[in-house]
Structures are given as structure tokens and as C-alpha cells.
């Protein structure tokens, strides 16, 4: 094989964004080694610059003519680009949050950022991975970094416990996933590439055999763990409560987006012949997640725990799009994950700010906050109301699109359940708003009475403020000005070969304007 041919097959330009992240990661580590703690002042900004340039690099990859790279190991189609973008952006906001948080906990910032960037890298590779080994390696990169991040504040027993719990459940669910993957390898006659596996299974006349179904269930166990779908959710509340808050912010958006990216890619390419079965399984997961997440969240007293159950519930909503399995369904998932990025990270930024200033995150302690900190109250209220789906915020449009796509696909009962559980969710989201806004000055909690004077010029507070304001504005107007985001989500689905099996030829040309999804 001559070199030119090999280079064309490697097509290494497609992982330029990841390359930038790797260089940033090395940079962070090396500067930390050379300069020691003094680098903590600017090392966060270096990482942010690296991640943002990775996002810019992703922009230039949009609609690549030949997205397949590394002889089929990596697929840089538009679907993967959008998920890689979501993951990188969630890492950006996470770093904005963590600069102060990690400093205050007395641990090294550069190490934290290095692990976070590794997790980002794993997530980004996972979004485009289209080969079993590649999927497993990137999944493990993401997971192992997440365990480390969860237990990063190692003097805190709750963080330790959370890390242990996350590690044990995570490692076993990865093992289950690996077993499913190895079954796929065997069933398909030794194929590891996703596109070849489906053909291999059909060739071996195993279309809907028991082996395929078992492999499917094992794979779903691994995916369900990442997106914290009930009943694979048990780690979520404990980890969310124990882990450092910026880590939770990343896990709830970045890691979850990676899980959904994996779900779309794996299920549509490998299991097209058992689509009924996996849709049925995911229906069950979605119903369980929506009901359990929303109902149990009603009874929470800790803010982080409430958001843990809320994130389980939100995963349930997103699964409606996956079950619909139409263009509009996938696009609505992507759109929802995009706005979920803004609203969840906005909410977590406010929680971090509050716990930095007062040292607690009990819901009852928020009472009367509007008097002392209006910006925080506004940010947290808007993000929670958006999570509850109140117009005209971003979350409303996200949910409407999900329900709309679900209804189009005939999932009437799912949509109705989603509506009902949305009503339930409004109750617990509004409870926090009530604490902050409605309570009278004399009902103020102790910590709010002693609320420190608001100063943004302390080290590390400015990036928090920037992150808060940017995500707050995005949450407020991403719904009203949603057209670009909708176009982005729709195009990424219609331009993706794996989601358009019958239109492969036209998408390869990519000069053809994207078609509107049917029926809209």
C-alpha cells in the first residue's frame, strides 16, 4: 500500500479538533510541571482557548466530503460534529465554573483540568467512533476520567464514597457493555466496524436471533448507565451529591451527550433489524425515567440531589426523540441536548456560586435570596423554569420539538406521559423559585442573612460570572431565536449518512441542499 493511499484512508484531518484538545491537555500538564502552582492563574484560560479553537475546527469540518477516517474507525459526519461540539462547550463552561471551586477546595487546578480534558477527549471520540474497539476505548477514557473527577476532592468523605460507587457501578456496566460488544464481534463473523456488523449478522442469518437480542440488551445496559436512564440510574443521585459540583455539571451534559451520541450511532447502524426491540426497551426506560425522575425529585431537600433526579427525568424526555427514530426525532434530541447544555450549566453555575458564598446547597437555605443576590436568583430561576419547560425559554421549545416529533411518530402515550410528568416537574422546579423569590425578608434562612457582600473581583469569580451571564442569555433567547439551532440540528441529521440509509449517495455529494424533514 503506497503512502498516499494510506494517508487518504487515515484521513487524519478529521480529528483535528481532538488533536487541538490533546495539545492543550499536554500544554496544561507541562506548564503545571514547570511552573507549579503559579500557573493556576491562567491555565484555565489556556484550556478554554484550546477547547474553543477545537470548536472552531469542528465548524470547518461541517459537511466534510469524506467523513470516514482511520480506515473506518472514526466517522466525522455532521452528527458526530454536533455532539463533539456539545461536549467541548460543556467542558468550556465547566472550566469556567471550576477555576474558583477547585482553588477553594485546596486542590491543584491543572490536574483537574487535565483530567477534565481527558474526559472531554473521550467523549468527543466516542461521538464519532464507529468501530467496536474504538468505542470501548473512548468510553473507558471518558469513564475512568469521570471516576477520578468524582473523587477529586479527596478529603471529603462524600466525594470518596461517590467515586467508589461510581467506579463499581461504572466498571461493571462497562463490563456488561464489553460482553455485549464481544458477542457482536462473534455473531457477525469477526467484524468490528459498525457498518459491517449489521451485514455480517444478516449474512450469518442471525437477523433477530436470541444472540443479537442478548447483545442488544447488554449494550443498552452500558448506554443506559451513561445517560442515567432508570433503572440504570442508581449512581446518579449519590454521585451528584458527593462529587464536586463542576464535575456534576460536566457529567450531566457532556457525559450524557456522549451517551446519546453512542446510542444513536450504535443502535441505528448495528441493530436496524431489531429496531422494534430496542425501541421497546427504550420506551420502557423512558417511561421509568420520566416517572421516577420527576416523582422522586419532588421529595428532595438537597439542590444537587434534586437536579440529579431532574437529569434522570430529562434523559427520559430526550429518549422520546430516540424512540421516534425519525429525522425529526433525532433532530429534536440534538436540539434538546443543545438547549439542555445552556440551562443545566446555567443552573449549576448558580449552585456553585451559592455554595461558594455560603458553603451549603440545601434547598431550604435558598430562602429570601432575591434580596441579597438578584443576579443569582434570576439565573437560577430562569434556568429552572426553562428546565420545567415554561415559555418563552429555551427548554419550552426543546420540549415542544421533542413532543412534536414524538407525536408525529405516533408515540401518543409517551407524549402524554411526558406532558403529565412535565407538570409534575414544574412543581419541584418552582419550589426553588418560591424559596428564593416568594419568601419574605423575615423568612430568610440563616446563611442568607449572613450572605457575604457580592464581589466579582475575587480570583476566579469573573469567569463564573461570564459563564453565568452567557448561559443565562442563551437560556432566555435560544428559544425565541431558535431558528439557527433548529436548522443546525435538522441539517446534522439529514446530512448524516448513517441516519439516511436510502440517501447515502446524495449526502456524499453534499452540494444538494438539505431537505426538510417530512411532514413538517
Amino acid at each position: 500500500m503506497d503512502f498516499a493511499n494510506l494517508a487518504a484512508q487515515l484521513n487524519a484531518g478529521t480529528i483535528l479538533p481532538e488533536g487541538i484538545v490533546i495539545i492543550t491537555l499536554m500544554g496544561v500538564l507541562i506548564f503545571d510541571l514547570i511552573l507549579g502552582r503559579t500557573s493556576a492563574r491562567w491555565i484555565g484560560y489556556l484550556a478554554i482557548a484550546g477547547l474553543l479553537s477545537a470548536v472552531v475546527a469542528l465548524y470547518f469540518q461541517w459537511d466534510a466530503v469524506n467523513p470516514i477516517a482511520f480506515t473506518g474507525g472514526f466517522n466525522s459526519d455532521d452528527l458526530s460534529i454536533i455532539f463533539r461540539g456539545i461536549i467541548a462547550l460543556s467542558a468550556v463552561v465547566t472550566i469556567l465554573m471550576s477555576i474558583r471551586y477547585v482553588e477553594q477546595s485546596g486542590t491543584a487546578l491543572a490536574e483537574f483540568i487535565a483530567i477534565l480534558l481527558t474526559a472531554t477527549l473521550g467523549g468527543m471520540f466516542l461521538s464519532g467512533a464507529s468501530e467496536l474497539v474504538m468505542i470501548f476505548i473512548s468510553l473507558e477514557t471518558l469513564s475512568i476520567s469521570s471516576y477520578l473527577l468524582t473523587g477529586y476532592t479527596k478529603r471529603d468523605p462524600r466525594s470518596n464514597e461517590a467515586a467508589l460507587k461510581y467506579l463499581l457501578i461504572g466498571a461493571s456496566s462497562t463490563a456488561v457493555f464489553l460482553y455485549g460488544v464481544s458477542l457482536l464481534y462473534g455473531l457477525s463473523g469477526g467484524q468490528t466496524q459498525l457498518s459491517a456488523i449489521a451485514d455480517g449478522i444478516v449474512a450469518a442469518n442471525l437477523g433477530q436471533s436470541l444472540g443479537v437480542v442478548i447483545a442488544l440488551v447488554f449494550v443498552i445496559a452500558g448506554i443506559g448507565f451513561k445517560i442515567s436512564a432508570a433503572p440504570f440510574h442508581q449512581w446518579t443521585p449519590d454521585v451528584y451529591e458527593g462529587a464536586p459540583t463542576p464535575v456534576i455539571a460536566f457529567l450531566s451534559v457532556g457525559s450524557k451527550a456522549a451517551g446519546f451520541a453512542l446510542a444513536i450511532r450504535l443502535l441505528t447502524t448495528v441493530f436496524p433489524y431489531v429496531a422494534e426491540e430496542w425501541k421497546f426497551v427504550f420506551t420502557a426506560l423512558a417511561v421509568l425515567s420520566m416517572v421516577l425522575g420527576n416523582v422522586v425529585a419532588l421529595a428532595q431537600t438537597s439542590m444537587k440531589r434534586m437536579l440529579a433526579y431532574s437529569s434522570i427525568a430529562q434523559a427520559g424526555f430526550v429518549m422520546i426523540g430516540l424512540i421516534a427514530g425519525t429525522d425529526a426525532g433525532y433532530a429534536s434530541m440534538i436540539f434538546y441536548l443543545l438547549v439542555y447544555l445552556f440551562m443545566n450549566l446555567c443552573g449549576f453555575t448558580c449552585i456553585i456560586l451559592f455554595s461558594l458564598r455560603t458553603g451549603t446547597d440545601q434547598i431550604a437555605e435558598y430562602s429570601g435570596l432575591y434580596q441579597k443576590d438578584p443576579l443569582l436568583t434570576l439565573g437560577l430561576s430562569i434556568s429552572l423554569l426553562s428546565l420545567g419547560g415554561i415559555p418563552p425559554l429555551a427548554g419550552f421549545f426543546g420540549k415542544i420539538y421533542l413532543f412534536w416529533a414524538g407525536w408525529q411518530a405516533g408515540l401518543y402515550w409517551m407524549v402524554l406521559l411526558g406532558l403529565v410528568t412535565s407538570v409534575v416537574s414544574i412543581y419541584y422546579y418552582i419550589r426553588v423559585v418560591k424559596m428564593m423569590v416568594v419568601k419574605e425578608p423575615q423568612e430568610m434562612s440563616e446563611v442568607v442573612k449572613n450572605y457575604p457582600e457580592i464581589r466579582w473581583n475575587l480570583p476566579g469569580y469573573r469567569p463564573l460570572q461570564v459563564g453565568l451571564v452567557v448561559t443565562l442569555i442563551a437560556t432566555s433567547i435560544a428559544g425565541i431565536l431558535s431558528n439557527p439551532l433548529f436548522t443546525l440540528a435538522n441539517n446534522s441529521v439529514t446530512n448524516t449518512a448513517i441516519l439516511q440509509p436510502e440517501k447515502v449517495v446524495s449526502t456524499q455529494v453534499s452540494a444538494i441542499p438539505p431537505e426538510k424533514p417530512e411532514g413538517l
Binding site: 415554561i390 413532543f403 414544574i426 413538517l520
Partner: protein, 500 residues
């Protein structure tokens, strides 16, 4: 042109919300909001003047494409069904702001929420797109929750949450039905004119119509779903109660007329008898429960349930006359309820109680509240349907229009109108007449600024009572056109019945 009605209040709400804070700002912020509301009201009257009465269709239409993927477009228009509601909305917003002069706690949030609600309600009345309607409909949820639960009475937290949950459930029903309407008919967008339900099977139409009735029935409210209303109305402060009862309840009946009757004419004829009986039961129930109340605000709140029953009866009858009556009843109930809540608010502020057993002799010229009591008598009479006042006109048209179709429910409603007179006489008797308690009756003076809103409304009530053309002329062509859409359908239903 119409966008001003929506965006001027909403934008000024945002501006007021971010107004730099200083301690003695309540007055200034109130003045700014009052000016904004005044401009909106004048603009609304200007639109009313320009409104072409002979045109049954949508006027002053505006269209901006918004989101094609969702079929959501910014599409506004006004017709005979909505024009009066818009005027009512801006008038009552102005009055609510005017009469909240004592509001000194957290004025920024208060006034910005009121303006937000005003813009949202105007948007809902103007929207010509189901999703746009829903967006505006749901927009009032959180502001009203805050308005009730921050500035309300003793049990405001409970009332606020109850209101929130009922309204959220109502919007869930409405959204599900809207999605169903659009997708099942295969429409390409949520625009009103893109949807025609004629193609659906009768069962499907009935199911969707049931969703509409349940969704808006909670808001109106109809009898089994009304339990949020007494709490919310009673616990809300007077200006908020004016908005709640005057404007928000109209969203429910408007939705029922526009989406129920307007979009399911065929199924509507099937459920009409049930609705007529339902309306009559609501009316009787509201009146009877009101008689039993010991709290004047609660009485007024239940009177509202009764009066909305008439609207339901008229919508069910769906003759041209009955629909004119329904729209007139919506408007007159809005202004009558507003004046009642305002007066009750004044009495509560001056006397310090709302209990029927403690109030007495307010008619006393020197030490009582003579003008307020006189106005209370007037508005009680208007509510009970005494000729010469707008309440009578509206109710009479309703009864006249419905009698030919549903005689029995109409008679029941007439009877409940009599019961209305009963509890208002009880109310007036216990509050206005009798003797003042010499030890307790040292009431503060009623300021002119507190009388003005009631006087304006009273003048309006009397004027529309003696000159009812000004009440009915706006909606006539539109309702006639709506009815004209029904008869051919009715025949097919009859023929189907005959075939069986």
C-alpha cells in the same frame, strides 16, 4: 399595529424589572407602568375605532415567519371575537395598576409582572397560530403564580401553588389537543387556517374537543374543576384579583369559542346539549355556594363561576344571538367583576375585615363609606342582572339566544340569575345597611385615587346598559360568520342520525 399591544407591555416589563433600585421608587415605577398601560389602552381604543365592524374575518393581520420546523409563525389578527377582550384586557390592566397605589413592597417585580401578564394575554387573544397562542397562554403562568404568592393574603402560598398546578394541567391538556389537531389532520403548520378538522372521524373530533373543553374548562372554570378559583381569587390582592377574574377567565371562554366551536363545529353540535346542562349546573352551583359564604370576596369569587356558566350555555346554544350574548357577557362580567373586586378591596383596606358578620352600616353618610357602598349596590345590581346596567343586556341576549335551542337549561340559568340577586341582596344588606358599630367605626377616608377606577367602571357599566349597541356591534358579523359555518354540518349529523 397589533404587535404594539403585546410588545410595549412586555418590553417595558423587562425595562422595569432591571430598573436600578433605590428606596423610594414605588411611586415612580407605578407612574411609568401606568403610562405604559395608558398608552396601550389608547392604542387599543384607536384600533377599536379603526376596526371595520362589517368585516367578519381577521383584521390588521401581521405575519412574520418564525420557526418552520415546528410550524410556528408569528401571526396576529383581530376579529369580532377578540377585539372586546383586548379592550377589556388593557382597560383592566390600567385599572389594576392604578388601584395598586398602596403597593410599596418590591414594586419593580410587581409592576413588571403585571405588564408581562398584560402583554401575554393580549398575545393569546391576538394569536392566529395554535402554538403561538399556547406560548402566550402559558406565559401568564409564572407571573400570576408570583403575583398571588408574593402579594397575596394569609394562605397565599397554598393558593398560588394550587393555581399553578391547575393551570399547568390545563395547558398540558391544551398542548396535547393542539398537537393532536395538527398532526391528525395532517396540517403543515399550527396556523388557524391551515387546520381543518372536517376530515377527521367523528370519534376523533369528539376526543379532541373533549381535550379542549377540559383544558379551557379548568381555566373558565367549570364546576368540577373550579376549586382553585375561590382560593386564588380570595388570596390574591385586589388588583390581582381584578386581572385574574376579569381577564384570565376570559382566556378560557375565548379558547372554548375559538378552538372548540370554531374548529370543531361538527362535534360541537354533538356535545352542545351536555355543555348547556353543564353551564346551567355551573350557574346554579355558583349561586347556591355563594349564598352560603360568609366572606364577601368569596361571594364575589363564586359569583364569577355562576356568570361564566352563562357563557357556556350561550356557546353551547350557538345561535348567532347567543354568541353575541356570550361575547357581551364575557365583557360585562369582566368589568363588573373588576369593580366588585376593587370595591371589596377598598372596603377591606378601610374597614379591615371582609366578614359579613362584622361589616355593617357602611352606607352611613358621614362615618361610613357612602360612595363606595353606593357603587357596591350599583355593581351588585349589575351583576344580578337588573335592567339599565350592562349585566342585564348581556344576560338577556344570552337567554334570548339560547331559549329556542335549550329551553330547560336556559330556564335554570334564569333561576340562577334570580339566586344571584339573592346573595347580592344578602351581601348589600349585611355590609351597606344597618348601623355602624360606634366603638369600631373610625374608618380612614377613601381617597379620590381609590374611587376613580370604580367610578370609571360604573360609568361604563351604566353607559353600556342604556346604550347596548356599543357592546354588541363589534362581535355580530364574526359570530354570524361562525354560525354560518355550522348549519351544513348540522344537517349531515342529523342525516347520520336518521340513517341509524
Amino acid at each position: 399595529m397589533l404587535s404594539v399591544l403585546i410588545w410595549l407591555p412586555i418590553l417595558s416589563a423587562i425595562v422595569i424589572g432591571f430598573w436600578p433600585s433605590n428606596p423610594n421608587q414605588a411611586g415612580r415605577i407605578r407612574l411609568v407602568s401606568l403610562t405604559v398601560a395608558g398608552i396601550v389602552l389608547l392604542w387599543n381604543l384607536f384600533i377599536l375605532l379603526k376596526f371595520d365592524i362589517s368585516n367578519p374575518g381577521m383584521q390588521f393581520q401581521e405575519y412574520v415567519p418564525w420557526n418552520d420546523t415546528l410550524g410556528l409563525s408569528y401571526q396576529l389578527g383581530v376579529d369580532g371575537l377578540s377585539i372586546l377582550m383586548l379592550v377589556l384586557n388593557s382597560l383592566l390592566t390600567w385599572i389594576a395598576i392604578y388601584s395598586s397605589s398602596t403597593q410599596t413592597e418590591r414594586p419593580r417585580l410587581f409592576y413588571s409582572m403585571i405588564l408581562l401578564v398584560s402583554g401575554g394575554v393580549a398575545g393569546a387573544f391576538l394569536a392566529e397560530n395554535l402554538l403561538l397562542f399556547f406560548l402566550f397562554y402559558e406565559l401568564e403562568l409564572i407571573p400570576f403564580y408570583l403575583l398571588i404568592s408574593i402579594w397575596g393574603g394569609e394562605k397565599r402560598a397554598y393558593a398560588g401553588i394550587k393555581f399553578l398546578i391547575y393551570t399547568a394541567v390545563s395547558s398540558a391538556f391544551i398542548l396535547a389537543t393542539f398537537l393532536g389537531m395538527v398532526w391528525l389532520t395532517g396540517a403543515t403548520s399550527f396556523a388557524f387556517d391551515a387546520i381543518s378538522t372536517q376530515t377527521l372521524s367523528a370519534t376523533m373530533q369528539l376526543v379532541l374537543l373533549a381535550g379542549i373543553i377540559l383544558g379551557f374548562g379548568i381555566k373558565i372554570p367549570l364546576v368540577p374543576f373550579h376549586t382553585w378559583l375561590p382560593d386564588a381569587y380570595v388570596e390574591a390582592s385586589a388588583p390581582i384579583a381584578i386581572l385574574l377574574g376579569g381577564v384570565l377567565a376570559k382566556l378560557g371562554t375565548y379558547g372554548l369559542l375559538r378552538f372548540g366551536l370554531g374548529m370543531f363545529p361538527q362535534a360541537w353540535t354533538v356535545v352542545a346539549p351536555t355543555l348547556a346542562i353543564w353551564g346551567a349546573v355551573s350557574a346554579i352551583y355558583g349561586a347556591v355556594i355563594a349564598i352560603a359564604q360568609k366572606d364577601i370576596k368569596r361571594m364575589v369569587a363564586y359569583s364569577s363561576i355562576g356568570h361564566m356558566g352563562y357563557v357556556l350555555l350561550a356557546s353551547a346554544a350557538s345561535t348567532s344571538l347567543a354568541l353575541v350574548g356570550a361575547v357581551s357577557q364575557m365583557f360585562s362580567h369582566g368589568i363588573i367583576l373588576a369593580i366588585l373586586f376593587h370595591l371589596v378591596g377598598v372596603i377591606e383596606a378601610k374597614v379591615g375585615t371582609r366578614e359579613l358578620d362584622k361589616l355593617n352600616g357602611l352606607m352611613s353618610p358621614i362615618r361610613g363609606l357612602p360612595l363606595i357602598s353606593a357603587l357596591l349596590v350599583l355593581s351588585g345590581m349589575a351583576s344580578a342582572g337588573i335592567p339599565g346596567l350592562t349585566g342585564f343586556i348581556a344576560e338577556f341576549i344570552v337567554f334570548q339566544g339560547s331559549f329556542s335551542v335549550f329551553p330547560l337549561p336556559t330556564l335554570l340559568c334564569v333561576a340562577s340569575s334570580g339566586l344571584t340577586a339573592v346573595y347580592f341582596v344578602i351581601l348589600l344588606n349585611r355590609t351597606c345597611f344597618g348601623k355602624l358599630d360606634n366603638n369600631l367605626a373610625y374608618y380612614p377616608r377613601v381617597l379620590w385615587s381609590e374611587k376613580t377606577p370604580a367610578l370609571i367602571l360604573a360609568v361604563l357599566i351604566i353607559f353600556l346598559g342604556v346604550q347596548p349597541t356599543w357592546l354588541v356591534r363589534w362581535s355580530e358579523p364574526t359570530t354570524t360568520a361562525m354560525i354560518a359555518a355550522i348549519p351544513p354540518v348540522e344537517k349531515t349529523v342529523n342525516s347520520q342520525v336518521a340513517l341509524k
